[in-house]
């Protein structure tokens, strides 16, 4: 029951490129990645696209489909009108390498800047006890598949290249939140560094990260805003301000 689909694919590299129209067969139940693979196997043998699991679990096939940041393996062709042209482009917040593949090394650099988990020294392996209710918040953030769609859609860096150096991005705000809410993590100053080093204050909570998250992690409501509130706790809280506690906080 194959039908023809009009597909418009961005092809090119850092120097130049543009949208190319192709017609390709599509079968019932297929996703955009299936169709791209068919183009690759039959019409454009050197079409570059990243993918791995084709099951929405690895977060490799991030691209923009009709202008929206999405996973190609999770976007059903049937979700578009039959006569609609589907436009696929590489992520637009990162440098393009070739065709649909971008250089996402920014994210790995940021990952290395977030201070690691610090386990209590007195707890030997196997001795840790944690309640399910205490790990659940962090577990939500650990669902992250690192597709970097949230990073890509965040206007702080998408629209302002110069902010990349001072802004970790939503993916790493959930990492910070995960560690700050981890029942056993010993590192003290995550809130302060989130604000002062990782650019939490740059976020103006417009929630695009949450909108594009394929794992449906409530990035803004459950991680970024709680972290902003935790920062308020140590820097701007009225009660503590009057009680002079903020100064003491600063020394920690």
């Amino acid at each position: 029951m194959a039908r023809k689909l009009n597909l418009r694919i961005w092809r090119g590299d850092a120097t130049d490129g543009g949208l190319k129209d192709v017609q390709v067969d599509v079968n019932e139940g297929e996703v955009v990645l299936d169709v791209i693979h068919r183009v690759q196997a039959t019409q454009m043998g050197d079409l570059a696209v990243r993918w791995n699991c084709k099951a929405g679990k690895c977060g490799s096939c991030s691209m923009e489909i009709n202008g929206k940041p999405r996973l190609a393996c999770m976007t059903q062709v049937a979700s578009f009108d039959e006569d609609e042209t589907i436009t696929v482009t590489p992520l637009r917040a990162f440098p393009v390498i070739k065709d649909l593949v971008t250089d996402v090394s920014f994210n790995y650099k940021k990952a290395m800047e977030i201070p690691a988990y610090e386990h209590p020294k007195e707890l030997a392996p196997g001795e840790a006890r944690m309640e399910q209710v205490d790990v659940e918040r962090s577990q939500e953030f650990r669902k992250c598949i690192e597709c970097f769609l949230c990073q890509n859609t965040c206007h702080v860096i998408r629209d302002h290249e110069e902010n990349k150096k001072s802004f970790a991005g939503p993916r790493f705000f959930i990492r910070i939140a995960e560690l700050d809410m981890h029942p056993l993590d010993k590192l003290k100053n995550r809130k302060r560094t989130a604000q002062e080093e990782h650019g939490l204050g740059m976020c103006n909570i417009t929630k695009c990260c949450t909108e594009v998250c394929p794992e449906h992690i409530k990035i803004t409501d459950n991680a970024i805003i709680p972290m902003k509130e935790r920062v308020v706790d140590i820097k701007y809280d009225p009660a503590r301000m009057f009680a002079g506690l903020l100064k003491r906080e600063k020394r920690n």
């Binding site: 961005w10 009709n66 202008g67 940041p69 309640e131 859609t153 629209d159 909570i205 902003k228 308020v232």
Partner: protein, 266 residues
Amino acid sequence: MSGVFSPTRAKIKERTLRTDKWWLEPAITFGVLFSFVIYATFRAFEGANYYKDHLISPFYSPCLSQACVPEATLFGWTPVSAEIFNFALSPALIILIFPLGFRMTCYYYRKAYYRSFWLSPPACAVAEPHTKYTGETRAPLIFQNAHRWFFYAGLVFNVFLTYDAIISFKNVDGQWGHMSLGSLVLLVSSTLLWMYSLSCHTCRHTVGGRLKHFSKHPVRYKLWTLVSALNHKHQQFAWFSLAAVAFADIYVRQVATGAWTNFYFF
């Protein structure tokens, strides 16, 4: 060229390739919020038509100015003079900063107006027009961190407005046990304000979100779960409560000017 047109990015000339009506939501938000601001400004400066027969407009409560209609004051407590530097000060202007500040710094409204008024960004994956962006890291936007202060103030206001709603269960002669459309309007608006405040992110943080170990604080965990459930609907409460407050004010004004007659159920 910056942003999506930076030299290293894929060369695409469109600001966005989105094909859906992404502009609709910010356009509506802009329209509604802008209308409210115009109306609220007009009402705040009007300095009249805010009280009639035990109905007080939420824009003017608590009424703290010596200019206030005596019945509208809190037991006649009027610590603020009617004029400042020979300028007749509307009683609303003294207090409006608090509910206004609460909404201005609210995490939901921030999203709404950053998108619709400031186009930063207008919608997801739509390039914004600004060339520089520093977010909420410096003045004036660093002031957003004062949300908690306004949250506390908002709770106090909710108490006043609830008191106003209770007072409204009187007839024209001041006898208790009567209910009018006006009392219903004030009751709905004060209830929605409570929901708006209680569903707020700061509230969620304060009741339990700040804890590291829920298991050691079962009561606060329970509260946090409840507030979290409300918090999912914070956006809805933000709009409904805004509409309800605006309508309560309109209703009181219409009754006060005599355009409408307050309808008594019993």
